[in-house]
């Protein structure tokens, strides 16, 4: 069985490729890229962009335990519809993904669903309690690709140092949600004039920046590879930029909400705009774009965080934090970054394919011959309007409903199988 993607613009940052060509898939693998190829089935992709399958290294699939928000099946469907062929899922499940058997259970379930490759991220500490280290080596054996206590940052610097020393032995990255909770202190949104006017307790940028600075110092001490999650402030970008110049083994990500929205989205107490870290200011958005452009920010991930209606349809103070992102990310990258020239299409694709693959030490993120045929085809000119009711995700929590975007995935291919076409998920 072979499949030919004919006449598309092939962009593969992993091999410096950018040309119009045909791509041949045989037996679920990429056979070759060339001219005038033939296959059992041909799809005309002229005018479209063919890239390695997008990788989202920061999602919450909520299974096991919170299936009312999302599960591996609905989350995989959302990924496929949004153009992602692989996702790495955070361990704040119930029970917590803190041992090999849960890591394996997630992978098995994802394989049964078969719409996206799911890479579990293991918990750093048992039950995310920030006390005893979880069985990191055993979880690596079971398929965990990275470790994180995501929204439960390790406050104890001594424990963080020991975790970095220990995890560093295996070369796996620690993904760090950086927050000094004594500074965020039950804040609800970014600290500033908008929070002051709304009467909502603010979270200063320094809550994130202080924690990043500490963690980078410990990364320098231990040599452990660290990946800073969801960078949202100017100060954070500057601290990471300096650490990289000093040779610290650090990578980082930002999310579309941090270059597409500001804290003004909270006005009117829109709980869908409540997210952690909080939406910041126009100055921070500008700095995030600068950091993306100069390479300080390596990866674009979503922090896809589904929540049920009742967790958002309530007072702002009690609403859950987070927004879904799998089905809007590519459109926001194309509209907010590529179209205005913040990033070239190649650089944007790299931050969603080759770089996250490198951080997580995955084989994917490339169109090289012999690789699994995980491929995304993008229509860069497709204009569309965000309609949360059409999301494949079980949850619809986004403040972006009604936003007009240009650019979307029209074909998502996993192991040579078409799993989504024009937003419709196969099977």
């Amino acid at each position: 069985m072979s499949l030919l993607l004919k006449g598309g613009r092939m962009i593969d940052p992993s091999q410096g490729l950018d040309k119009v060509a045909d791509l041949l898939i045989e037996d679920g693998k990429i056979a070759k890229i060339g001219e005038n190829l033939n296959a059992d089935e041909t799809i005309d992709v002229s005018g479209k962009v063919v890239v390695p399958g997008l990788i989202d290294m920061h999602v919450h699939l909520r299974e096991p335990g919170f299936e009312y928000k999302e599960d591996i099946s609905t989350g995989s469907r959302a990924a496929a519809a949004g153009g992602f062929t692989a996702v790495a899922c955070m361990p704040n499940t119930h029970p917590v993904t803190d041992c090999k058997s849960i890591v394996e259970a997630i992978r098995r379930r994802a394989e049964e669903v078969g719409l996206a490759k799911v890479y579990p991220i293991g918990a750093v500490t048992k039950e995310l309690k920030g006390e005893e280290m979880a069985e990191i080596a055993d979880m690596i054996e079971g398929g965990a690709v990275a470790f994180s206590d995501d929204a439960f940052p390790l406050e104890n610097s001594g424990l963080m140092r020991r975790v970095m020393d220990y995890a560093g032995m295996f070369g796996v990255p620690l993904i760090l949600h950086c927050e000094d909770t004594s500074l965020s202190d039950e804040g609800l949104m970014n600290e500033g004039i908008t929070a002051t006017t709304l009467g909502l307790k603010g979270i200063p940028r320094e809550s994130e920046e202080v924690a990043i600075a500490r963690n980078l110092m410990l990364a320098r001490l231990t040599g452990c590879p660290v990946h800073i999650a969801h960078v949202s402030t100017r100060g954070s970008v500057e601290i990471i930029r300096r650490a990289k110049e000093a040779g610290v083994n650090v990578t980082c990500e930002t999310c579309p909400q941090y270059f597409s929205l500001t804290d003004e989205a909270v006005k009117g107490y829109d709980t869908n705009a409540k997210v952690n870290p909080p939406l910041r200011t126009a100055d921070d958005v500008a700095a995030i774009k600068e950091g993306l452009a100069d390479g300080t920010i390596d990866v674009i991930a979503t922090d896809h965080a589904p929540h049920a209606i009742e967790e958002k349809d309530c007072e702002f103070a009690v609403a859950s934090s987070g927004m879904v992102g799998l089905e809007t990310a590519l459109g926001l990258v194309m509209t907010e970054l590529v179209k205005p020239g913040v990033l070239s299409l190649t650089d944007a694709v790299e931050k969603m394919t080759a770089t996250p693959a490198k951080v997580l030490r995955l084989e994917s993120g490339s169109l090289q011959a012999g690789k699994a045929a995980d491929i995304t085809v993008i229509d860069p000119e497709a204009a569309w309007t965000v309609d949360p009711s059409k999301f494949h995700s079980r949850s619809k929590n986004t403040p972006l409903g009604g936003r007009k975007l240009v650019g979307k995935a029209v074909l998502t291919i996993v192991d040579g199988r078409v799993v989504a076409k024009n937003g419709e998920v196969m099977a």
Partner: protein, 312 residues
């Protein structure tokens, strides 16, 4: 003219013309309070629900008194005695009450924006009786009414609001209302109790009390709460009083005819000395009376009344 919105959620979104209408209407209603028979039929057959998720004596009594004088029927729900203790969400509580067809909800809640959430849920009018650290519009209006009665104008006056601005919904409503009416507003308090980026609001910010009340026409003293000390926002009530307590001596920095407001309840001897609280410049009890008049005006105007009070 009529009010633009079905709800009274805050003074930030209210126009100067609306504020003027409310204050005028309240002044007309104040006469009723001085009559021996304090009852008019204006709102007969109307039903009003007060839903208080925070402790309150004066605001709730004030709204209920206003409603009763105007012959409306009132139901009072306090969070501690309702099904809230059974774990019912705010949404379900409000939808249940809405099914009993009230004309107005009056809500106090510790979460900023809770009345805005309710206003979107129900067709009834919603009056914000204080939401978190956000706004307390009826208090702002009664403060303005009290100042207007004493000074004959609002425009051009200097009003210093002293104390815990950070947590104060009164300070925010006063600020929006007074700024719209052309008064100059100052926030005075320790840095730990001034909201972040307050200088971007239509106010001047002072941390020094003497400078902050210098030349002021009005000093509005806010209540200081012991729990703020426990959170480490200032070292002791004693030191707070030394730095920010309003005494007769300190008031000399203000204008000779300065008036002093306090939204209550007062901590005598801490943020305000008895010598000030009981002096002729203190408007504390007048504020309470004006509160009833302002709330009568709000209920009346929300239920379709116009500025011509006598016609009703």
């Amino acid at each position: 003219m009529r009010l633009k919105s079905k709800d009274i959620l805050g003074l930030e979104e209210m126009g100067a013309d609306e504020i003027e209408l409310i204050l005028q209407t309240a002044t007309s209603f104040k006469d009723i309070l001085n009559r021996p028979i304090k009852k008019v039929p204006t709102l007969r057959g109307r039903s009003i629900v007060t839903l208080f998720y925070e402790a309150s004596t004066r605001t709730r009594t004030s709204f209920e008194t206003a409603a009763k004088i105007m012959s409306a029927d009132t139901s009072s729900i306090a969070a501690a005695t309702s099904s809230v203790v059974k774990g019912e969400s705010l949404k379900d509580t409000v939808l249940t009450l809405q099914s009993m067809r009230p004309d107005v909800f009056i809500i106090r809640h510790s979460a900023s924006g809770a009345p805005h959430f309710i206003a979107k849920l129900v067709p009834s009018s919603v009056i914000n009786a204080g939401d978190g650290m956000h706004e307390h519009p009826s208090q702002g209006l009664l403060d303005m009414m009290t100042i207007l009665e004493n000074k004959g104008k609002l425009s051009g006056l200097t009003v210093a609001i002293v104390g815990d601005i950070l947590h104060s919904r009164v300070a925010r409503s006063d600020m929006w209302g007074l700024a719209k009416m052309g008064a100059k507003v100052r926030f005075v308090g320790p840095k730990t109790l001034i909201p972040p980026e307050a200088a971007k609001l239509p106010v001047e910010v002072y941390t020094n009390l003497e400078e902050g009340i210098k030349g002021a026409d009005v000093v509005n003293v806010l209540r200081i709460q012991l729990e703020r000390m426990k959170k480490g926002l200032f070292p002791s009530l004693r030191e707070y009083s030394q730095l920010y307590g309003i005494t007769n001596e300190r008031l000399k920095a203000a204008k000779d005819d300065v008036i002093v407001l306090h939204p209550g309840p007062m901590n005598r001897g801490i943020e305000i000395l008895p010598e000030v609280a009981d002096s002729s410049c203190s408007m504390v009890t007048t504020q309470v009376t004006n509160g009833v008049a302002v709330r009568m005006a709000l209920l009346y105007l929300l239920m379709g009344g116009s500025e011509d009070v006598t016609a009703s």
